[in-house]
Amino acid sequence: MDEVKQHIDDNAIAGYIDWLRSDGPKPEESILDHVASCSSCKSSILELSEMLDGQDKAEEPTESRKRKMIFILRAVALLAGVLAVAMMIQFLKPEKKSVEMAQVNDDSLRIIAPSEQLETDTILLRNDAEAEVIDIIQHDTILYAANYVPNQGLEALVSARFRSVTLDNKNNIMIPGVLMRGEELSLDLSDIEDKEIEFILVSNTGENLLLVNPKELKIEIKLNFDPGLYYWKLISSDDILMVGKFRLNNEE
């Protein structure tokens, strides 16, 4: 085959290489014809097309690594965004009212007012000594339960026998262990020799709620107190006669 004397220019060779590498349009027929008849052009086109293929292949791993890195960065950014939104929601969420039950003294707990009760989901009980916060579930029952916490000081007196007791018939002043709220408590103290006596109703925190100085030695008390554990004391002019306790429950 006769080679065409006039070689094609560098632009045409470059265009042919691009086409051969499926990276450009088909060259003109005259260029195709020339290359078909020119071994020198064929050689340079073939050589460079292979070199550029090699160059592209060498760049591929870098490109794929770049793409992988971009993907990872995007995933991390997305995750961080989701976390930020979640934290924002948590931050903006109205804070639940927490009630702290502080110890009034060593052996008693403060009785929370009924208005404060049964409204909260979360109550933190702080133990000052250990500065430890305990999260308790079923929180609305806690305040209620606090009213039933025994008073250690009074508990010791409940079962005590007092030497000065002058009661001949204790049954007359026996109070049932469990009473209903709104019920009337009746006591007959006529058997007590000491006529200067006082009947004191005490809450489980040790607070005196009611003091009765019965003149006719009969007591009738309407139990309109909050449900809880209550203590009562019978005191003469110079001594404790008797201490007892009862649970006041809500009417069923």
Partner: protein
Amino acid sequence: MDRNQIEIKLLKSNPRKLLLKYQSIIWMIVRDYFSKGMVRFREQEDLVQEINKKLLERMPRIQAQYNYTSKLRTYFSVIIRNICLEEYRKIGMVSEADPIPYLKTEAAESPVDLFLFNQEYERLQRIIVLFNKEQARFNLLLKVINNMIVVDKDLDLFPGERSDEEQDRLLKEIDTCKDQIKKKKYIIISQVLTPLEGKYTTPESLRKWYSSRLDECLKLMNGNPPTSSYTADSIGLLLEQAYANEK
């Protein structure tokens, strides 16, 4: 903006920066010349410097002559190769070519061998394409002479449309070449080519034509200076392997 557009912009506004970007291409071509024994190892850097110098000198001409019909990167690689050849012509062959590793290794089914094989086969395919209008005839003869199966796709390379029946008839006729001596094969193909090309070619001129194209193909496969040692038989083996891989 794709890579080519960015590079064209750099060509106009900041050719030095473009040159920095193309250092990998320069090194790629220089290393190729080193692997062919055209450059000494220690001369590689000097050659790279020389190419950079010449590219800077010729930059105004490059800016004026580049006609945007190809990728700028490809255009530059053509220019870089030309500069390399100029330098090579000045100093001549300086050392023996490094032996190509895959010529030493025996054919195996390892990924490396497969990769090298694919590279070689792709090279052969490109060479066939370079024959342009003659690629259909060369491809057909290459397959027939090497006892490969000719399929519809091979006949589709010929211009014009043929009915399915005509195509089947031609394929059957080509199929009779199997296990025939070369002389007989040229006779059969000469008859097959008449309807495909619209002209008759004698078996003898067909043989001469194929022989010259095969020589050219082998030269291109082996490179200049030669880095491979393909023969007519090893091209046949390459085709056989390609067929086996396709299967």
